[in-house]
Symmetry: none
Subunit: 210 residues, 4 copies
DNA sequence: AATGAATGAGGTTTCATTCAT
DNA sequence: TATGAATGAAACCTCATTCAT
């Protein structure tokens, strides 16, 4: 690994690549364009990354890091389950809007057909699944959440909904799709409120005592 | 009149193309490979389809037709909401397992970044959104479903869960991801049962009959 | 050689081919299009003509026949030289306008780089050169035309001018080019008159009769 | 800064392309063949020229530049009309023999059937037509040239003859054709002399001095 | 014998990767 | 060492020609 690119340059390169890969997809994104946009020569990219795929992988890694960071920030062990859910929902929505390229990269991961899929799933989903399952399992034990559902499934369905929340904001198709369901005039608070109602019902959350 | 591609050959071409586009995406899928795998020449593909994009569109149309057909078959106006949900869940699961290429194709659509996304979304989501919103709205009016949630959102969240059910079976990443939540030993009935519990809670379904 | 195509069909095929080759050039003209337009199947074209090139050759042959026929009709042994010239000029102009495809084919011949050029030159130019040189030589002997120029050169320059007259009407480039010289409002009679003045001066024609 | 195609390499590329386009026409000339003959890769051609058409256009521009340059050099404002004509004739003949590819290229342009023909015609013919018409018109005013012919037509017929002079040397067909008129033993001086006699007669040039 | 669908070689163009400077 | 021009494999697409029916 060389050390001639400053950290800022490396960062810019990665961000540019994320944006290119995210918006155009891994095929249509051109290394030369990424070089041009980031003000770095093609040659140096190949010094830092073996090939286009390695650059793509780095972008994926960066994106999953960001997603994990977002989750980590959103979850506070002190929160009640309802608070945790609402925080996650709000955080997902705002993160996705501000970081569309990461979301698109994330979606690109889900499109991977080969063995890499397993690797990437492990990188990110293992982390979130443990967090969510833990939170929900604890809430079940505390009697706050219905106990007739496997907490793993509860966590799974909940994360499914969060993933879709991401894609709604970051990916064109999902964004269009959402319009057919809830119309074009979208509002974050309405979405949060409705999803909270849905989730609370699904979880059988009993508002704890005052 | 000359030989002409038999119906089976045409069907094989389309299925091969669906599989290629679904697994590799529209960019990486090669027309020449589709030809080779279909056992026909490149030229004949261009007789039946103007260009690669037209072939992709045909694959898309086929996939959406299949998905819509699946939904249409699953929904019976006589069903109670709970029955309808269970039918949809079971149908999605079994369809996705038997028709992974269609699901992958569907996922490939969701990956499209440009204007085509809007067109594709209209092709399929408009149809399902109207069906689900209709069913749920009616159930609300009948007092079977909680009325404090907008039926459009209920339908939206429900379809989100169904989409993920599709992808779980059809796409590698989602399949791996599921393992982190509910373990490797997956079972259709368990999934159906758990999801029904989740959904019923979310919908606030009151079992109508005594 | 088969005999299943009627004479009219053969004629139609050839005319269609001339028009296609003439307007699109030998490369862009497509055999299948010629077949479609002439109402004859591709297969039968290949029964009558070994390949596309042979069809092109037949079109060339037809075009040179027409050109020769035109010349033959225009020249009357009884005519004075001036009359002969004017007849040729007028005939070239009207023929070219009515038979643009033949002219374009003729131009295509002139574009041939290989040995075929020699063959085609012989087919048509030998014929015209002998006619023109004969007419002019005779006029020289009769003292009607200046005798200080080689009649072969006189014939050559005169035919050069006639060729250009053809191309002016039949070929797009020459047509545009003419506009830069004499403006867009072209008139056959003016052209004839001006060219006759030019030629008479060049030939040093002394009006014989009183 | 990297190697980059040297000026000689660029020149060689263009000359090779001129030769290919000139001899085979824009359709039959293959970019890969031009690359091979130039000793460079296909890709680099597309760095310098957007596509095949742009390369053709560059060849055209080069050819017309050469032709215009030739005309510009041949014409001296001090010359008498007869001198100007003789210079042009001699220059055309020698230029065409030394630069057959440019001439073939020029002929290829005249073969273009579509709208481009108009553009090409403007590029070159506008220039020469104005020069010739100017020279001849002035000579008419000075009483050196007959005034009963429109100077535009005089210039037109004269340029027709010059064009043919070009093609005679540069294009196979015209070269063969010439033999039928004036025999195989061609001689530049004889051609010049005969054409001068022809043109002087046509123009009605009165030798001014003495 | 006639048809016209199928073939597949060959052309244009792109872009990941290399490497001379 | 960094550059970015050059490379050339590989993709799309066309259409002359063949040949099963």
């Amino acid at each position: 690994m060389l050390k001639k690119l400053t950290d800022e340059q490396q960062e810019k390169l990665l961000m540019t690549a994320v944006a290119e890969f995210g918006s155009k997809g891994p095929e249509r994104a051109a290394v030369s364009e990424i070089a041009r946009r980031s003000g770095i020569s093609v040659g140096v990219i190949y010094k830092y990354y073996k090939n286009k795929e390695a650059l793509f992988d780095a972008c994926l890694a960066r994106s999953t890091d960001m997603l994990k960071g977002m989750i980590a920030e959103a979850v506070d062990p002190e929160d009640s389950l309802a608070e945790a859910c609402e925080n996650l929902i709000r955080t997902c929505i705002s993160f996705a809007r501000k970081n569309a390229p990461y979301i698109q990269m994330y979606h690109a991961i889900t499109h991977e057909p080969g063995e890499r899929a397993a690797y990437y799933a492990e990188t990110i989903e293992k982390y979130t699944s443990e967090i969510y399952t833990g939170i929900i399992g604890k809430a079940q034990e505390e009697g706050i959440v219905r106990s007739d559902i496997d907490p793993a499934y509860l966590a799974f369905f909940f994360d499914n909904l969060l993933m879709m929340l991401h894609f709604d904001s970051g990916c064109r198709y999902y964004n269009e799709r959402r319009k057919f369901y809830i119309g074009a005039e979208y509002d974050d608070d309405k979405m949060t409120e409705q999803m909270m109602l849905f989730v609370k019902g699904a979880f059988g959350i009993r508002e704890p005592e005052v």
